[in-house]
């Protein structure tokens, strides 16, 4: 189809030009994503996300905005992490239970920085976090390192 906009390809190209002005991608997004490479963790065992309650249909139906808890489960071959997230507007509290390995240290990591968490038996608590991506870096009493998948809380 052609008219004053030309062919579909030309019309789409015109739209793309307009979109680049009307709704441009913030330049900081590219430099921020490139800087993430420094967060690569090669010496740790990955505890993968195996369950997110937000993905369960029944949870979605029951969820009341701003007043629900979300459960995440991470697993490696030998260790498990259960993360309970409470939401208040854009603030988050998390309580984590680590099973399968004795913990020595834990660090909460976001793209902006790290925060050590107090290890109380197998429980880790962090309050008043900003919404956004995070992961946990754990060290066992035997010196092994475990890192969870990145999740957006």
């Amino acid at each position: 189809m052609t008219d004053m906009f030309g062919t579909d390809d030309e019309f789409l190209a015109r739209l793309g030009t307009v979109a680049a002005v009307a709704d441009p991608m913030p330049e900081s997004l590219t430099s921020a994503a490139q800087a993430l490479f420094g967060l690569r963790q090669l010496d740790a065992e990955l505890a993968e996300l195996v369950l997110d309650s937000a993905d369960l249909p029944q949870t979605r139906e029951l969820a009341v905005r701003g007043d629900e808890e979300r459960m995440l489960s991470f697993e490696t071959g030998r260790a498990g992490v259960e993360m309970q997230i409470s939401e208040r507007s854009d603030r988050r509290d998390i309580v984590c239970h680590v099973t399968g390995v004795p913990l020595d240290a834990a660090i909460l990591e976001t793209p902006k920085g790290q925060q050590p968490l107090r290890v109380d038996d197998d429980v880790l608590i962090a309050r008043d976090l900003s919404a956004g991506p995070l992961r946990l870096r754990l060290t066992t009493t035997g010196g092994d390192k475990i890192v969870t998948s990145w999740v957006r809380i």
């Binding site: 019309f11 739209l15 793309g16 991608m25 997004l29 993430l36 990955l46 979605r60």
Partner: protein, 201 residues
Amino acid sequence: MHGPDSDAPGELVRRAAAGDQRAWDQLVARYNDLLWSVARGYRLSTADAADAIQTSWLRLLENLDRISDPDRVAAWLATTTRRECLKVLQRGSRERPHPAGHATLDGIDGSGPVDDRLLLAERDAELWEAFTGMSDRCQCLLRVLMTSPPPSYEAVAAALEMPIGSIGPTRARCLARLRTLLEKQGGLFDTEPLRQREGRS
């Protein structure tokens, strides 16, 4: 020195997995606009779009040496971003959802720096207004198709979770609808050639 295919997506993934920051930078430079288009196509706010995109890159980072088909990393990223966007939409945005009209005549959406709030030419503003009045499906598809560099249909299909075979026909229908909208809107986009109107009067 890299071989002639050193810029191929799969090769960039392999080099990044081996610790090459420049390969990672190239991947980001090549596909970030696609991810932005996906997130904006799903109408995420700037903050939510930024989080969803960042999370997608973090997921790629931790899976660099485990992706089953590195050559299809664009589709992998598009799928990951779509899932992140849907999570945001399911749980509610931490900001107000992006309004249907992304742009106005005198600015963008108020979320960008002032320098970015360029005045759109009146015709372009009219075009953008018509575009943002379209169905979610059309906006999302066209938005992703506008991405630079143009994404493969496989990546588009992954971004929208639609069959590859329906992309072409849907694209044609959406563009035809947009043309019709602009014609109905009249104004600067009256598509009747000027000389015909002049000749009639």
